[in-house]
Symmetry: C2
Subunit: 424 residues, 2 copies
Amino acid sequence: MGIREDILKMKQDAPFLAASDTELRNRALENIISGLENSRDEIFAANRADLDAAAKSGVSDAVMKRLAFTDAKLSDVTEGIRTLISLDDPLGKVSVNRKLSEGLVLRRVSCPIGIIGVIFEARPDALVQISSLCIKSGNCAVLKGGKETRNTNRVLFDVIRSSAVSAGIPETCYMQAEQHSEIDELLKCHSEVDLLIPRGSNEFVSYIMNNTKIPVMGHADGICHIYVDEHADFDKAVSVIFDAKTQYTAACNAVETLLINRKIMDRFLPVLDEALKSGNVTVNGTEEIAGIIDVNMIDEDDFREYLDLAVSVKAVDDVDEAVAHINRFGSHHTDCIITEDDDAALRFQQMVDSAGVYRNCSTRFADGFRYGFGAEVGISTGKIHARGPVGLEGLVTYKYILDGDGHIVGDFASGKKKFEFTDL
Amino acid sequence: MGIREDILKMKQDAPFLAASDTELRNRALENIISGLENSRDEIFAANRADLDAAAKSGVSDAVMKRLAFTDAKLSDVTEGIRTLISLDDPLGKVSVNRKLSEGLVLRRVSCPIGIIGVIFEARPDALVQISSLCIKSGNCAVLKGGKETRNTNRVLFDVIRSSAVSAGIPETCYMQAEQHSEIDELLKCHSEVDLLIPRGSNEFVSYIMNNTKIPVMGHADGICHIYVDEHADFDKAVSVIFDAKTQYTAACNAVETLLINRKIMDRFLPVLDEALKSGNVTVNGTEEIAGIIDVNMIDEDDFREYLDLAVSVKAVDDVDEAVAHINRFGSHHTDCIITEDDDAALRFQQMVDSAGVYRNCSTRFADGFRYGFGAEVGISTGKIHARGPVGLEGLVTYKYILDGDGHIVGDFASGKKKFEFTDL
């Protein structure tokens, strides 16, 4: 008795969802909006039970905020679903349409990935967003949310699944896993599950990545950098760094390491230090930095992800040294240069090997909503398939469809027929 | 003393190749064409040495043909490089260009994947094609070819690297591994190598997939199907099946299983059987098939990759049963329906979960050259990133470039500024 049997049924029915038209999938999303609104009392009651249990176990205010499913969050998620409905169908898009020879036409057409397993933190709004993205993109999903919102998730998932089914989606296409042991079962389903998206702590994501043959999309670390170039505007630099460090310290896109050009550090570091200390940010720096401002000294190879009001500071000679440091010590998430020099910016943006490479703005912009994707299922620091915030486009693949009229390769091998390769 | 140190240097220099302009990379390709032509005597002499050694060890004529680097193959590869030079630069393509807010512009720009490890069979032309694709796409590469063409590979690789270096590409960007033990070292370089493309036997590709944390692109099995629908044109069916089975039996895109609609099998099977036997194809069939034509009987779950003049035959009721069989027993490579019925074709092409889904043409068309890609580094049966024959487009990823003027997230969180999401 486990989830594997349900996943096998899901796999059998996945092609029916793949072949569904956009009206059916949009109708499912509309049903979810009305379903959520009609079940608000039940949802809020379940959430109160989760919050009471959490309060008893003494979780912090910050965590309580994430667990709470409020009226405002309900509005946010239904608004998000309306945005999704309004977006073009990501399926059936033709990216290659080529006549190979008379009567032989090749098309590359977008299609769902298949079955996606998403393991996410205790945030009820995440469950709604992730399910909606999967429905719009025609993917089946196995969802496992954080146990602290188990009651809320159960009600939300029932509404989502019954809404999808009433629109015509097979009921096998979506399932929720509730037991932690089911994660290990899921990790073994590499013949059925096409993609895993784990969200949560570094340790958890690394555990997933190291214990499955299923492709994994996501990120473990988020060590983001800001490089202050010799041609930086100091006001922009200080304001962007302050926002990137303090606006939400627990986020993966918060800045963790500052690289300062040696030509300006004597003038810039005191200004920076004053701003950071006004925000209660602990400043850690190399020996060289400690010679200019008052910092906690760190080694030249100790650049970590704090996820807290703390930052590392180091000096570099130029863009190339900044790039080399970022590519070596970073996590390929999001990195920024502060400069008024277009050549320096171009070089930095071409050479930094990260999903987001910014100029003169906060690393905190790395987010699916802020990129205009409507929602995201996660942020990928991998370079294969989707990179950065992952929305609808990251949830589809393509297949090559070739239509002929009895065409055989022998005729082309013998020279009887020739390829023409005309894009239509 | 191993290859890891060289790979670390390659990683440091990869950003310079990523930032190189298209002229530099095309000049490298032009240098390779003249380099190969100028070194033809040396190349052919090295190849003769390989062929002599192979002849002594008694390899088959078919294998000897693959090992030989002839005048015709030299023309083919230089012609292929000329095609690559004429293709658009795959780097720097902007697929998203969006104003997020006043002065804050997001672009999604294509860029190289980074370092690619390609392990391929003893075919000297493959070495040239793979290196050329990597140069055009700005990727560094670790190349390991089959040992039977070691002498030829050494000369070819020297020409390729010196040609690339004389165009301005860092000499660290391309290296050849020659020892089998170096493959295991390569598999451990998951912090440096971004993608592995293994080609060769099923066992070898499976070994790679099971022994590395580096993403792997490729395919182990190639169990391709042809489904003969109740509305099939029998002449097309026989001609396509004969081509797909006999034109080159050792290829991964040769057909291995035939699914025949029950409504037509009494009439179709004798015609098919006669054609296959005229081509010396061994026909294996289920008990039901054995009741109609003379076949070697196989079990209902024994559908294998023969890579030889042999085929499995089974009866199905309709498109849905054919799809269910293919998705369960296939390898998601290339599958075909023979039908004159548009509805049946559409349903089949939507529901079969394979990289290529064909109608009325041979599965042997699944190939980068035949798709008009110029060349391919391999065929992917995975659904993440590139699928099917992989050319230039499968060798690039993208990064999000965000340009601001001191923009901070705090202003958007507080409501002082609003996102507008205007596509430019």
